[in-house]
């Protein structure tokens, strides 16, 4: 029997729920578990209801599960809201003094969190640490892993904070150990050491390892943590991160930096990207590489700032005035975000054009265990960038020289004697402003020719076929894990489904998608939006009309259970 254990820690904003979740997840990581953890929070700093789900399994997990084994309730609301999701043998940890919860079930453990925090560390704020300890004690986990997690989490805060937290956690742990639940979670021996990180961290690591040297940004959920991570690394990794006056400045600065020769990136959400759109077209016209990370959240306008959606697929495909080549990539998993970041930097430079990375709040903020990234696999490809030696041999340099591929040799300003001239106006090969029709046609066609090469770089969708499949389940971006797991669950019920997943969306892999859907199975597109944007895109690009859609647009992430419940409705 596979082990699959789900925790949910809940409370108000300000009670340290994120900290509970992370320490729990790290403790389980050290015990060899695979983790998937997601966060649900409101757009407020204090109060409200926040929760953090941690799923631990002895096999790879890529999606959340809604069925809970252990509820860690730092307030009454957490119990009221999530009790119904507990499995039959599910348990609750709470402090009755706080929750006034009198339901005398066997599965409830009343832990005097407040009292233990005061006794162990003379600090009421450590209630959350006591709760983590109690949760792990209740399932007889190994306390050494909890201690390691606390040491790592609070290392920067100093020895005293570490020691206090360990005492608080062990107080909770020991208390719960005296009330065994009968359920146990044993560390897995011999598991390889893995990394635990969220989508934004994975993307940021990919950017830094991939040679991104310049980032400009204006904070916006869910992408602020990318800016913060890179700012935190700026000294040790020699990166410039500028907190700018607005998103318009962000993209134009990134374009300026890239024109001068450094790999540059911006990260925002839909509202910020809306402001960047004119700059996107500038990158297209001036053939300047730039990578734009768009972490989607529900819109329109401010929408639901701390929740998730995939409502900006069409926006990213069509944003920008005029016609110019672009690539749109949408990582499917935390692990893939790293790979896609590197690929985006390379494509932007090879094709001298903007590349968009479309993520969403769910991927950005969910944590997953991944094998340690192999940095030796990271290849930095700078395309037609000329070496100093090549530049020194140039006589008549034309930045926008017309070529068969549409890609012009790229010199940098002050690299040699060559003058690098470019213009947002239509320009000639030398980069100077023009008005004549013949040059316009020449340059327009030159730029658009780059799409051919770009098309060849786009990977086919990930396809997992099942024998005698009745269904093709099609997804894109962050829903990968949920669809993957839904297919496994369907298989147990005797329903065979293929999985077709796009994480590289534009230029659209028309041939591969057409081939994948060319079977007798019923095709259903699963996406987090209300208008079935991918389904329409598939029809537009392949002519194939899918049979159905599973859509979610309440701001919550697609889960395996959501897919199965809706599939049953769709099929019946």
């Amino acid at each position: 029997m596979a082990t699959d254990f789900n925790f949910l820690a809940g409370g108000e904003a300000g009670q340290g729920i994120q900290s509970v979740g992370m320490i729990l997840a790290k403790s389980l990581l050290y015990g060899g578990y695979h983790i998937f953890a997601d966060q649900d929070y409101e757009s407020r700093v204090r109060g409200g209801h926040n929760f953090f789900r941690v799923r631990a399994s002895d096999r790879e997990v890529l999606a959340l599960s809604e069925d809970l084994d252990l509820l860690i309730a730092l307030n009454r609301e957490t119990i009221d809201l999530h009790k119904s999701k507990l499995k039959p043998d599910g348990m609750i940890i709470h402090d009755r003094e706080q929750t006034q919860f009198e339901d005398h079930c066997n599965a409830c453990l009343d832990v005097p969190l407040n009292r233990l925090a005061m006794q162990a560390a003379q600090n009421r704020l450590m209630v959350n640490t006591v709760a983590v300890g109690a949760a792990l004690g209740l399932i007889e986990y190994k306390s050494a892993f909890l201690e390691s997690a606390l040491k790592k989490a609070f290392a920067k805060a100093g020895d005293k904070i570490v020691a206090d937290n360990i005492r608080a956690a062990l107080a909770g742990f020991d208390f719960a150990r005296q009330h065994p639940s009968g359920q146990q979670l044993k560390p897995i021996d011999g598991a390889p050491r893995r990394m635990l990180l969220n989508g934004n961290e994975s993307l940021s690591v990919g950017m830094l390892a991939g040679g991104c040297k310049f980032v400009a940004g204006y904070p916006m959920t869910p992408s602020s943590s990318i800016l913060e991570y890179i700012a935190d690394k700026s000294t040790r990794c020699n990166v410039v991160m500028v907190h700018v006056e607005d998103e318009i400045a962000a993209i134009n600065m990134a374009i300026g930096a890239s024109y001068a020769g450094v790999r540059s990136m911006v990260a925002t959400s839909g509202g910020g990207f809306a402001l960047m759109v004119e700059g996107l077209a500038l990158a297209g016209m001036t053939e300047t590489p730039v990578v734009i990370v768009l972490g989607q959240r529900p819109g329109p306008a401010t929408g639901l700032p701390t929740r998730t959606e995939q409502g900006e697929l069409w926006f990213t495909l069509h944003a920008g005035h005029g016609e110019f080549p672009r690539a749109v990539l949408a990582p499917a998993t935390v692990a893939e975000a790293f790979v896609i970041a590197v690929k985006a930097l390379n494509l932007a430079e090879k094709y001298q054009t903007p590349v968009l990375i479309l993520t969403d709040h769910h991927l950005a903020s969910s944590y997953n265990t991944v094998p340690k990234f192999d940095l030796k696999q990271v290849k930095i490809e700078r395309g037609a960038l000329l070496s100093d030696e090549e530049v020194s041999r140039l006589t008549d340099y034309r930045r926008h020289q017309v070529t068969d591929s549409g890609i012009s040799p790229r010199a940098l300003p002050s690299q040699g004697m060559a003058l690098v001239v470019t213009d947002s106006d239509e320009h000639d090969e030398a980069g100077h402003i023009i008005e004549d029709a013949a040059t316009r046609i020449l340059m327009n066609e030159k730029r658009l020719r780059k799409l051919r090469g770009l098309q060849a770089e786009i990977s086919a969708p990930m396809i997992k076929r099942m024998p005698k499949a009745e269904l093709n389940l099609i997804g894109w971006g962050s829903s990968y894990g949920a669809i993957h797991e839904a297919i496994e669950l369907l298989h147990k019920e005797g329903i065979a489904a293929n999985h077709i997943h796009l994480s590289e969306i534009w230029p659209f892999p028309t041939e591969a998608v057409t081939r994948a859907l060319n079977n007798k199975a019923k095709s259903i597109v699963i996406e987090s939006n209300a208008t079935a944007q991918m389904a329409i895109l598939i029809r537009r690009e392949t002519g194939i009309k899918v049979s159905g859609n599973i859509l979610r647009y309440d701001g919550r992430p697609i889960s395996p259970k959501y897919i199965i419940d809706n599939l049953k409705k769709e099929v019946s």
Binding site: L208, A209, A216, A249, A260, P413, A418
Partner: protein, 287 residues
Amino acid sequence: MNMVTLQDYAESMHIAWCPGCGNFGILQAFRKAMVELHLEPNRILLVSGIGQAPKLPHYTHGNVLNGLHGRAIPEASGAKLANLELTVIVIDGDGGAYGEGLNHTLAAIRRNIRMTYMVHNNQVYGLTKGQASPTSDLGFVTKTTPMGAGQPLNPLALALASDVSFLARGFAGDIDHLSSILQMAITHQGFALVDILQPCVSFNRVNTFQWYRKRVYKLDEDKSYDPTDKMKAFAKVQEWPDRIPIGLIYRQERPVYEEQFHALKELPLVKQKLDPLDFEAHLDEFM
């Protein structure tokens, strides 16, 4: 040091400004400044927005990023941070600098990145054929402001209030004087704003060469004027329209933005090697 001559900054294409445009004088002053500073065209980066003035980079030589309307400043800032060895000069009009891009202008003044901002201020939109600009005189009637333009912005006062580190005003009709201002601006350690009075011969029949000639006077001829005295500078930028001071208005030493970045201490970003393995040590944080 190579000899730099006016020929190095000769016209690179046919100039499309109106005959008699104030921009010709500014272009001449710019060329003269480059020659006197011995700056070769390959070492300078000219960034411009959209308008008549922002066409200037096309009419001379240098590296050129002719970007979007109002966005020249962020484009230039990114390029400067990427390569500190570039001498960055931004060329804009009053529409780009004080209208569409005002937020960036103020942000750049506050940051104090080393670059020169030449604002050709003709108090009217020339490229789009004669609409009011943020600096048009009160009541200036144009096709988009038939009721007359509203209260004009005083960009110099705004720059001072934002603690600008170098502020000067030049006049397109006095090429030598403007050239010397540009030389001061380009050698200044920080962000330099040079507002340039530029008569528009097609759309501004009020603020003409003659109108300016009657009113401008040179601050540097007044030995008692101290350009490090901010309160005196504030008084000077209020003088309009009876007498209009030109020359260096204010200068102060302030920390330069780019110096705060560890990443820029040794080599310009663009010259730094990219090695994915450098990141290896940071992966442990996730384990």
